[in-house]
Amino acid sequence: MLKTEELRINIGPQHPSTHGVFRMLVTVDGETLVDLKPVFGYLHRNHEQLGEVNSYLQNMPFTDRLDYFNSMINNHAYARSVEMLAGIEVPERAQYIRVIMDELSRILNHATALGFMLGDMGAWQTALLWGLREREKILDLFEYVSGARMMCNYARFGGVARDIDDYFITETRKLMDGLPHYFDDFEGLLTNSEIMLARARNIGVLPKELALSYSVTGPVLRASGVPYDIRRAEPYAVYDRFDFDIPVGTVGDVYDRFLVRIAEMRQAYRILEQAFQQLPEAGGGHINPKVKQQSLKPPIGEAYARVESPKGELGFYLVSDGTGNAYRYKVRAPSFINLTALADMCKGYKLADAMVILGSIDIVMGEVDR
């Protein structure tokens, strides 16, 4: 035998496929990955401290910057946590609007996330650009309703900033007419491709027990076979009124995560259809007019509210001391927690697999580093 030597490589912080400024300190033996150490914190910008200095409403636009793909869902989660803290009622119509935005975000997020994952796998951007095309249409809707494409800043305590009108509804229905076709196209592109199967099946396996002990959530956990979805486990907003399935995987490999995300996009479409059917009957305005948005002073106490973000359980923990800004503000970011399982998922596979596994976790560094 030739004497060989292990090679330590820094993948990142500047690297085409680390999804932002993320560093993987990788030890490889030839092409086989021996050890992986995730290093992050390059994007730290004092989010939680800022949340304690700002007033409650001032912090809303900062939550946009956490997971910048799903600012709608971040807003929703933060607003829910403040509402829980201050005991604010949310009108039904506002709940429905929030659900519609959440599910549009979910489609947007999964489409791009899968595109990026396939891009990491080496499919030259076709899947990614198809995803970005759909994202673009949804972002146009967001822009129409909130005034901004990505940093929506849409939710308010007790509702949402603006009501949706007929134009938004017809445009969304128009978009939704094309969605099933898009899902089929996207699935038909690579799902049964021999190369895709070779690259994704049995790669990055995360067994159920390990996933649970890492407290991984979202599609990554569901792909490992745990049917845990906060929309079902602890129904918030009006999710208990919809009929939808929770797709789960069997093995917990990259391929399962791919399939689970596609299935979740289809379920999001189902929820959207039902939400639009039920929307006209929903009472109340788009916002609770009694809430003082600017000078909100919740009573002393604490609250933890969570929603099912496309990446997992997104929770906001708030402690109030009765003043205009939070005493303690903590974000439970799903990307960050899911990322901790990366090293165990990658060990023993090839260097090329590490990128695909990272892509299959679907992280956004804005949320990981806060």
């Binding site: 490589i9 092409e31 080496g122 030259w124 396996v205 067994p207 260097l351 090329a352």
Partner: protein, 413 residues
């Protein structure tokens, strides 16, 4: 061309040879780089169309002058060398790459217009094709960068695996035509009104498919673009190159692809042969053959683009498994069936040999079409049987691997 210089301009022989080869080399160098420029534009526009984008469409009509703008950009960029790099090797690597690539253009039969005849053309192609691996390894080693080193190593491993199926995929054609000269191989396909291409025989079709797949690996095209896998090892062996040196790598890469398309078109798709070429004859026929040749090569390049826009990249171990466990057995079986093909088609000659050796009665010479039918049936059966068998074996192997993983999962490992 030498004669033209001698007769028309009255140049002495040595001057004519120098002038003729100088002209040819200049044509190839200029044409190759212009062709490469066109190809980059073509690829980007085609992929953009597949991805609902517009692609480069600003510089010149339909953006066709985009490559020129980019050439100017790369030429004006700073040329850097890493501090710890092996400067000589680092400098020479792109040169070696480009030289190896340009040499392959020497044997391409450009329709009937510029015949170039090398009696061992096919051998020359595979020999030179292996040479640019050296450039890759030099770049990987000389850059003193871990990504570059990984890329160079991957490149060498890939080439070592793929040269063998690629060489062996051509052997059936050499057997059938009895020559290694590209010009002769093209000429041998001029039957049936210009449509007697090798790809229309079962053996030729299998050889074409195998050769093209192996050539994708040689040209570092998706799904085999492992040495420069941009999502894994940044840019592979090219990571530490900037400006013109990077452009030279790029140029070499696309010229290799162009050469592969031309050579595949000549060996399997009849080169410049097509309906009407023989009938027209002369300069016009030659021109038509050149057009046919370019259309075929561009069609092959379009397939490359289509593959690149669709499928993901294979992993390096999977790639080698594919080469050794899938391509190689099929290529070997194809050689066998091509031998049978030759034996059956030329049965009358064999019959004489049998009579001479064994004193067997000279068999009745069966009519041509019967022999052809038997040959087609036998070779299709052998090749398809081999394909099914190899696929089955590979599937069983991969399923077995999956099964163990499931068991491990059940144990909670």
């Amino acid at each position: 061309m030498v004669e033209t210089f001698q007769q028309t301009f009255g140049a002495p022989l040595w001057l004519a040879v120098v002038l003729a080869s100088g002209l040819k080399v200049t044509l190839i160098l200029v044409g190759g780089s212009l062709g490469m420029m066109f190809l980059t534009w073509y690829e980007r526009r085609a992929i953009a169309y597949m991805q609902d984008r517009r692609g480069p469409n600003r510089v010149g009509p339909q953006g066709s002058l985009q490559p020129i703008a980019e050439a100017i950009k790369t030429m004006t960029k700073e040329d850097t060398t890493p501090l710890e790099a092996d400067r000589v090797v680092h400098f020479l690597a792109p040169v070696v790459m480009l030289a190896a690539t340009v040499l392959t253009f020497a044997i391409i039969p450009w329709g009937n217009l510029f015949p170039s005849d090398l009696s061992v053309g096919v051998l020359f192609f595979v020999a030179i094709g292996g040479l640019h691996t050296l450039g890759m390894l030099m770049a990987g080693w000389g850059s003193n960068n871990k990504f570059a080193l990984l890329g160079g190593m991957r490149g060498v491993a890939q080439m070592v695996s793929y040269e063998i199926p690629q060489v062996m995929a051509v052997i059936p054609i050499v057997l059938m035509t009895g020559t290694m000269s590209m010009q002769r191989i093209v000429e041998s396909q001029s039957g049936f009104g210009g449509l007697g291409w090798n790809v229309f025989t079962p053996v030729g079709f299998f050889a074409f498919a195998l050769f093209f797949v192996a050539s994708l690996a040689e040209g570092e095209r998706t799904p085999f673009d492992i040495p420069e896998a941009d999502s894994e090892i940044v840019a592979g062996y090219m990571t530490e190159y900037t400006g013109m040196k990077f452009a030279v790598f790029y140029l070499a890469n696309y010229m290799t692809n162009l050469a592969i398309c031309f050579i595949t078109a000549s060996i399997f798709l009849g080169g410049g042969n097509g309906p009407g070429v023989n009938e027209l004859g002369g300069f016009l026929g030659g021109f038509l053959s050149l057009i046919y040749f370019f259309i075929k090569a561009l069609f092959l390049f379009f397939i490359m683009v289509l593959i690149r826009a669709t499928v993901p990249r294979l992993r390096v171990d999977q790639l080698m498994g594919f080469a050794w466990k899938f391509l190689l057995p099929l290529v070997l079986v194809n050689i066998l069936s091509s031998a049978l093909w030759v034996a059956i088609i030329r049965w009358d000659q064999q019959a004489q040999i049998f009579t001479q050796w064994f004193g067997a009665p000279g068999t009745a010479d069966a009519p041509n079409f019967v022999r052809l039918g038997v040959a087609v049936a036998v070779t299709i059966m052998i090749n398809l049987g081999a394909l099914v068998m190899v696929m089955g074996l590979n599937n069983r192997a991969s399923q077995a691997r999956m099964h163990t993983t499931d068991e491990e999962l059940a144990l909670g490992l």
